[in-house]
Chain length 169, copies 4
C-alpha cells in the first residue's frame, strides 16, 4: 500500500535526491539494481554453501540450498520487501530470468542425471521450491517478530527432500 519513495531511499543512503539520478535513470532502475544485487548475493551465498559439500553428496547440496536460501532471505528481509513488493515486474520477461531458480533447476537436473533423486521437470520443481521458500519466509516474517530460523530450515529441508523423491530424514 505505502510505496517506498525516492526520498526514503535517498535519505536511507544519505545522498541528495538529485545525486541519485547521476547513477540511475529512473526509480525503476534503482529497484531493478537493488533486486539484481540482492539476487546475485543470495545466489553467491547459496553457491558457497553448496560448494562446501562433497562432490557426490547431492542430498547435502539440497540441504545446503535450503539452509542458505532461508538464511539469505531472512538476513535481507527489509531489502527483500522493498525490492519484491515495490517492484512490479516491468515485463514478465524480466521476471523470468530469475537466476536463483535457474541455478536450482540446474542442480535438480544434475542430481537427477546422477540418479541421486528423481525429478521429471527440474524447472517446474525449482519454481515450486523457490516460491515455496519465498512464501514461507514472507509468512514467517509477517506473523512473528522473532523467527525460529533453525526450525524453518529443518522443515524446508524435509519438504525439499520429499519434493525430489528422497526420504525426508
Amino acid at each position: 500500500m505505502e510505496a517506498t519513495s525516492i526520498e526514503q531511499i535517498t535519505d536511507g543512503a544519505d545522498v541528495a535526491k538529485g545525486t541519485y539520478y547521476l547513477h540511475f535513470a529512473s526509480k525503476d532502475d534503482v529497484l531493478l539494481a537493488l533486486r539484481d544485487r540482492f539476487v546475485r548475493e543470495l545466489l553467491e551465498s547459496i553457491k558457497n554453501a553448496i560448494g562446501e559439500q562433497r562432490e557426490k553428496d547431492w542430498k547435502g547440496k539440497l540441504r545446503a540450498w535450503a539452509a542458505a536460501g532461508i538464511s539469505g532471505y531472512l538476513d535481507a528481509a527489509a531489502l527483500h520487501n522493498i525490492v519484491f513488493y515495490e517492484f512490479q515486474a516491468p515485463s514478465p520477461k524480466k521476471d523470468g530470468d530469475n537466476i536463483i531458480i535457474a541455478h536450482l533447476s540446474e542442480l535438480l537436473g544434475a542430481g537427477s542425471a546422477a540418479r541421486a533423486w528423481s525429478v521429471d521437470d527440474p524447472r517446474f520443481t525449482a519454481d515450486f521450491l523457490f516460491h515455496g521458500l519465498h512464501g514461507i519466509v514472507h509468512g514467517a516474517l509477517a506473523k512473528q517478530k522473532r523467527v525460529a530460523r533453525g526450525a524453518l530450515i529443518r522443515k524446508l529441508q524435509q519438504v525439499s527432500f520429499r519434493a525430489v523423491g528422497l526420504r525426508s530424514n
Copy 2:
C-alpha cells in the same frame, strides 16, 4: 510498476469514476473486495472438488486440491494480478488469515491424523504448497501465452504427494 489507477478500473468496468464511490469507500476498499471475492470463490471451487472424492480417499482429495488450485488461479489470472500485485496487504495480519492456506492446513492435518500421509507441521506444509502453486502459475503465465494446464496440474499433484510423504504415482 504502473499501479492500476481508479480510472483504469472504472474504464474497464465501463462506469464513471464517481460511480465507483457509490459502492466502495476508497480504492483500497475495491481491491480488498476483489481479493476477498477471488479468494472466496477459489476456496469454494476447491471445496467442491474435494467434496466429490470418496470420504477415505485422501490422496484423491489432495489430487483434487492441486487441480482446482491450478484451474482457479489460471481462470482468474487477470483478476489475480490486479488483486495480488496491486494491493500490498495493509497489515501483515490480513495477509496471514489466508483462508486457502487455512483450509489446506486443515486437510493436511486431517489426512495426517487418519494416517493417510505424514506431515509434521501442517501449517508449514500448507504455506509451502500454496506459495509453490502461486509461483508456478505466476511463472507459467509470465512465460507462456498459452499454458498447458493439464501438465501443470499433473506436476503439481506429483510434487504435492511427495511433499506429504506419499509416493508420487
Copy 3:
C-alpha cells in the same frame, strides 16, 4: 471550511436531491433564495417594531431597530451562518442592494431631516451600524453558547444613539 453540500440541504428538507432542481436552477440559486428570505423576514420584523413607535419618537425607532436587529439575527443564527458564510456574493452588486441597510439609511436620513439627530451621510452610518450589529452577533455566537440577548440589545442601542449624535441614556 466545511461547505454545506446539496445533500445536507436536501436531507434537511426531506426531499430527494433531484427534487431540488425542480425549484432551483443551481446551488447558488437556493443560497440566494435563502438569503433573500432571511433578509426579507428580518426587514419585516424591523419594520413592525418601528411601526409600533409613535410617529415622532425617533429615538424610540432607533431603539426598536437595534432590538429587532439583534433578535432577528440571533433567532435565525443557523440559517444566517449557512447563508452568509456559504455564499460568497456572486458579484459585489448583489451584495450592495442590502435592503436592511437601505431601509436603515432611509430611517437615519428621515430622522436627520426631522432634526431628531444629526447624521451627515446616512448611508455611511447605516453601513456602519449594520456591520457593527452583524459583527457583534457573530462574535457573541462564536464565543458563548447562551447569549445574553438583553445586554446585547442595550449596548447596541447605546452605541447606536451615540453614533447618530444622541445622548446615550
Copy 4:
C-alpha cells in the same frame, strides 16, 4: 461561490502547484498564514500611527486608529478578500482572538480609565467599531472602483468619536 483554488493561488504567485507545498502543509495552512500576516501587519501600522500621538491625546489616538484601519484595509484589499472570505474559521475560537479587536479594546479601556471618554464595555465597543470598519471598507470596495479614502476616514473618525461618547468635531 467560487472558492479560490490552489491553482489560482500558485498561478497568481507564479510558482508551480507543488512549490506551494514546500512552504505550507495544506491549503488551510496558507490561508491561515496569509490571514495572520495581514492581521499582524495591520496591527503594526495601527500601533505606529497611535504611537505618534501625544501621550495624553486620547482623541488623537482614536483618530489615528480609524485612519490607519481604513488605510490598512484598503491597501490590502485583494489579500483581505481572499483571506477573510475564503477562509471560514476552523473553529469559532480562532476567530475570537482577533488581535486587532483585542488591541482596540485595550485602548478604549485605557481611555475610559483616563476619563478621556466613557465606554461601559470596551470589548463590545471594540467589536462594534471593528466590524463597522470592516463593513464600511467592504461596502466601499464593492460599490466603487476608486474609493474616496479621505472621506471614508473622516466619517469613520466622526462615528468612532461618537461611539465613545465624544463630540464628533
